[in-house]
Amino acid sequence: MDFSYTDVQQMLQDSVQKFVQKSYDFDTRNTILNSEKGYSNENWQLFAELGWLAVPFSEEDGGLGGSAVDLMVIMEEFGKANLIEPYTAAAVLSGSLVAELATGEAKTMLVESIIGGELLLASAFAEPGSRFNPGSVATSATADGDDVILNGTKVAVENGPNANKLLVSARESGDVRDAQGISVFVVDASTPGISMRSYQTVDGKMASEVTLTDVKVPASNRLGEAGAALPAIEVATNRAIVAVSAEAVGALEVLLQKTVEYSKTRKQFGTPIGTFQALQHRMADMFIQCQLARSIVIMAAMILDGDDSAEEKARAVAAAKSRIGKAIKDVGQEAIQIHGGIAMTEELDVGHLFKRVTALDLAFGDGDYHTQRFAQL
């Protein structure tokens, strides 16, 4: 038994830490957040150069290995910096989906351009009625000669506004929640019939509501076999869940650390508030939450990398996301409460981290959703 990182993972962590410490302080983040695109393409190109965009892919596919533990290493550091760049959406979720579904020449081209930083993808799965279930797909794909016509609405498409191409889940047959009949299509973002309402999310990322009206794409843009994409969507989503969970672990750790620091310097009644036992115990509880969150994310990442059945993997991921949801509420809310009013302002990074972890709690299903999923699996 050994929970330490490999030398390569250690180097990866060092390199992300170095970047974050040097080039991603609170003010820089705010500048990026308020820039026109809402993310830094310069950073994205740097991620490509440093090889980080290759991390989600196996060596066979031209990547650096693609283990969930590697993703965890990167994402924890991104979480600490409250990074805005769409790594989960574009590289982990969309990248994993491409790796799972695409084949041959198409796969090589897509993977190479993702790793190279030229292709920025967004996955459009969620719909107005699907809530967190990626297997609920009402968007239709109708064959029309050598083309396919897409119609439907996708919501909460992270990185939608900046994506060159969208990966759209659509139904070729069956009822809304049938497991069979779902395909994924690569759709150029500029295809006629696509309209986007773009917005910044509460945690500073860019996202869109995407309406597809008679969007015509060549049938060859389908990734994988017709109607058989759901298992791949679930695999990609599970990896993305580990990514956002690790991101939350990083963010929560910083929230704890900042709260403890603040309690040592903030004086009321003539003494640092950290000397009050009522607050000490609550910070001790925050620490416990952070540790349990970290433990269960490690568990989920290791199981995803292992030889367990798809069902066991899904259970591990559901367990992690459920437990992380509890830690997010407890640690996030306590960080604000112990800081007091100052953490309610936009001027302090604590509030922004709180908003980020709140969004991460919802990402791919909140704690309650995954508790139920765990119970049913």
């Binding site: 969620a126 107005p128 009625g129 699907s130 809530r131 967190f132 279930n133 609920s136 919501v155 909460a156 809304v176 929640r177 309402r197 917005y199 910044q200 999310t201 509460v202 945690d203 500073g204 996202a207 509501e209 004086k267 009321q268 009644f269 003539g270 009522a278 607050l279 509420k329 809310q333 604000i336 409460q337 007091g340 009013g341 953490a343 309610m344 302002t345 936009e346 001027e347 509030g351 709180f354 908003k355 709140t358 969004a359 919802l362 909140d366 309650d368 508790t371 139920q372």
Partner: protein, 399 residues
């Protein structure tokens, strides 16, 4: 033992309901139901309608334009307002400074300030907290130095709610540095137009500058604006706090929001062909909230019954503050949970008055996260819930 209203009280309840149905402006009702922020004009307009009816200040004595309502009637009025969604008056003038002026002000001060507060001609804000005086309010440092017929005020206040609208600010200022910190504080009324006052808006997590920092740079305040005696301000401030605690539990608002949660849950897809109201876990938590709300309501009624027989409000107001705010925050979490991805868009302007665009997401679901963020303040302000627990441990449990 009974918790029934008398026939007269029931008739009064019906009168209040009828008044709200006919007089609460429809455009304001629409805004409230859509979670759109009410602006100053909206709030003043509604207050003036209440004033015309003679109901602007239910807690004031009749001689100053209040009502002669019993505690139970006041409770009925506040309950019906909350259930209907009609906003309470902004508390700073009506509920906070006015009782202090009535109790400790001169006749001249009463004549000068109270009628404008009653008619909502003047908007008041609060100058209490400072960057280094929060829970430990008595350590405040903003200084007022006597110079002839004036005080010269220097320092800064923070967490000043809606000061951007205000005509007047009531301040706790330090007038004596040489004594115990509680004994060197005075209560001063300052015209916001006085030279030397600047406001710096503080944007909160929901994107709205709800509070300000207020800076005082050699601000000259006529000594006649001092309330009561110099260095007695801390005593007056504590009186103000007990007045402020009425209706702090927020039961009516809680009931209205519980109903909204149920309605939204009945319409929200669970992603598996059902609705969120069918989720055993969600239903369980809804039930817990409803039960807690009942326990809170009856705790409030017991306080009310004690008040009605002339007992002073005691530490039970701390119970109402803690439970009321924490319950409201639990409901905020449930609104976020129901909204799911729909609360991710950070588009605060769509809940501001005058927004003409097409809102993102169904209904007002995009307001759920904004409210969740903003309402973290509930357990921080008005004496943080930690301070409330201190009060219970000391004043009730004798620890």
């Amino acid at each position: 033992m009974n918790a029934d209203f008398t026939a007269e009280e029931l008739a009064f309840q019906e009168e209040v309901r009828e008044f709200l149905r006919s007089e609460f402006p429809a455009d304001l009702k629409t805004k409230v139901d859509a979670s759109v922020r009410l602006d100053k004009e909206d709030m003043v307009r509604w207050q003036k309608i209440l004033f015309e009816k003679g109901w602007a200040a239910p807690t004031w004595p009749v001689e100053h334009g209040g009502t002669s309502w019993s505690h139970t009637q006041r409770h009925i009025f506040a309950t019906e307002m909350g259930l209907y969604g009609a906003p309470e008056p902004i508390p700073f003038g009506m509920k906070m400074v006015a009782p202090v002026i009535m109790a400790y002000g001169t006749e001249e001060q009463k004549q000068r300030f109270l009628p404008d507060i009653l008619e909502s001609n003047s908007w008041w804000c609060q100058g209490y907290s400072e960057p280094n005086a929060g829970s430990d309010l008595a350590s405040l440092k903003t200084a007022a130095v006597r110079d002839g017929d004036e005080y010269i005020v220097n320092g800064s206040k923070t967490w000043n709610t809606l000061g951007q609208y205000a005509d007047w600010i009531f301040c706790l200022v330090r007038t004596d540095n040489t004594v115990k910190k509680q004994e060197g504080i005075s209560f001063l009324l300052i015209d916001m137009k006085t030279p030397g006052i600047t406001l710096k808006p503080i944007v909160l997590l929901d994107g709205f500058p709800e509070v300000n920092e207020v800076f005082f740079d050699d601000v000259r305040v006529p000594a006649e604006n001092l309330i009561g005696e110099e260095n007695k301000g801390w005593t007056y401030a504590k009186v103000l706090l007990t007045h402020e605690r009425t209706n702090i539990a927020g039961v009516p608002r809680g009931k209205r929001r519980l109903k909204a949660l149920k309605n939204i849950a009945a319409e929200t897809d669970d992603g598996f062909g059902g609705k969120m109201i069918d989720s055993a876990s969600f239903k369980h938590r809804l039930a817990e909230v409803e039960i807690e709300l009942k326990a809170l309501e009856y705790s409030e009624l017991r306080t009310l019954a004690a008040l009605s027989v002339g007992k002073a409000p005691g530490p039970e107001s701390s119970i109402l503050k803690i439970v009321g705010t924490e319950l409201a925050q639990r409901m905020d979490e449930m609104f976020v949970e129901l909204a799911g991805y729909n609360c991710l868009p950070f588009v605060p302007e769509q809940f501001e008055p005058g927004f003409a665009g097409e809102p993102i997401g169904p209904g007002n679901s995009a307001s759920a996260a904004l409210t969740y963020f903003n309402n973290r303040k509930l357990s921080i302000f008005g004496g943080s819930n930690e301070i409330q627990r201190n009060i219970i441990s000391k004043a009730v449990l004798g620890l």
